[in-house]
Symmetry: C2
Subunit: 171 residues, 2 copies
Amino acid sequence: MELKKAIEERRSVRSYKEDSIPEDKLKRVLEAARLAPSASNRQPWKFIIVKDPQKRKELAEAASHQSFVGEAPIVIAAVALNTTHIMQCGIPSYPVDLAIAVDHITLSAVDEGLGTCWIGAFSQEEVKRILKVPDPYKVVALLPLGFPADKSGFKSRKPIEEIICYETFKE
Amino acid sequence: MELKKAIEERRSVRSYKEDSIPEDKLKRVLEAARLAPSASNRQPWKFIIVKDPQKRKELAEAASHQSFVGEAPIVIAAVALNTTHIMQCGIPSYPVDLAIAVDHITLSAVDEGLGTCWIGAFSQEEVKRILKVPDPYKVVALLPLGFPADKSGFKSRKPIEEIICYETFKE
C-alpha cells in the first residue's frame, strides 16, 4: 500500500473480528517496528505479543476496563528498556523512541488490512504485573491488533494553517 | 511510494544539496504530520518551518554545532503545546504525540525524495530563544529537510528475536 494511503486510512479501531492474524502478516508488522529509528540507534524496546485470551482479558481490565482491547486476537505491549536517558534538549528519549516504533506498527497494520488503537489509559503497575515486566522498564503503549469489525470514520484534524508557522513561533 | 519501501529506505541524512524544496513537496510532507494521531486527538503541536539562512545557522550552532543541520534548505522545529499532560499509564503524552507526527514527516519525506535527520541534541533554551517559542512549550525535535547529498547506508538493527517476546516479558 502507498504510504499516503496508509497515513490517510489509519484510524483508531475499537471493534475487532475474532479471526486470528496470519503469521506472515504479524511478521511484517513487527519488521516495521524493528526498522524504526531511535536515539543513537539504541533500539531500547521490547514488544510483547499477547495471544492468551485470559491475559488479554486481564490487560483490558487494567486498561480502564476497555473490553475491546481484549477482544483483538493479539495485544502488543510496547516496553521501554531505558527509561532514564534524557536527550540534550531535555526531553526523555524513551517515549519518542517507542512512539516511532509503534507508529511504524500502526501504519504497517493498515497495509496488512489490520487495525490498531493506541492505548495509553492503563495502569502501569497492573500491566507490568500481568506481563511480568521488571523495573525500571515501562510499558509505553498497549496496542490491540486485529481485523477491524467497525467502519468508524476519521477523526477531525486542525486545518494546516493552525499547525504551521514560518521562521518563528506564532500562536 | 509503498509504505514498506519508505520504512526500509528512511535513514539519517547528514548532508544536503542546496536545492530548495518545491512547495508541493513540502505541503504533502506537512499534511502527513497533520493527519497523525495524538492522545485524545488533541493535536498538541506546531511545526515551525525555518528557511532563513541566518536562523538555520543559529539553529545548527544551538544543535551542538552540527553544521549540516543548517545546510538543509529547511529546518522544521516540532513544538509541543501541552507539556504537562500525563497519560493514565504515567507516561507524558507530548513526546509520544510529537514523535508520531515527526515520524509521519520523516516517512513522507522519503516518499518525496527528501531526507531528514532526527535532532535531539540541541539546547532547548537556545532554540526557543531563536524561534521565539514561549514557555511552557517545548521543542521536541529539530528536523533538517532537503534533498540528500550523501548515500550513507542503513544503520544495523537488532535481530527480530531480540526485540520480541511472547505472553510475558523475557530478557
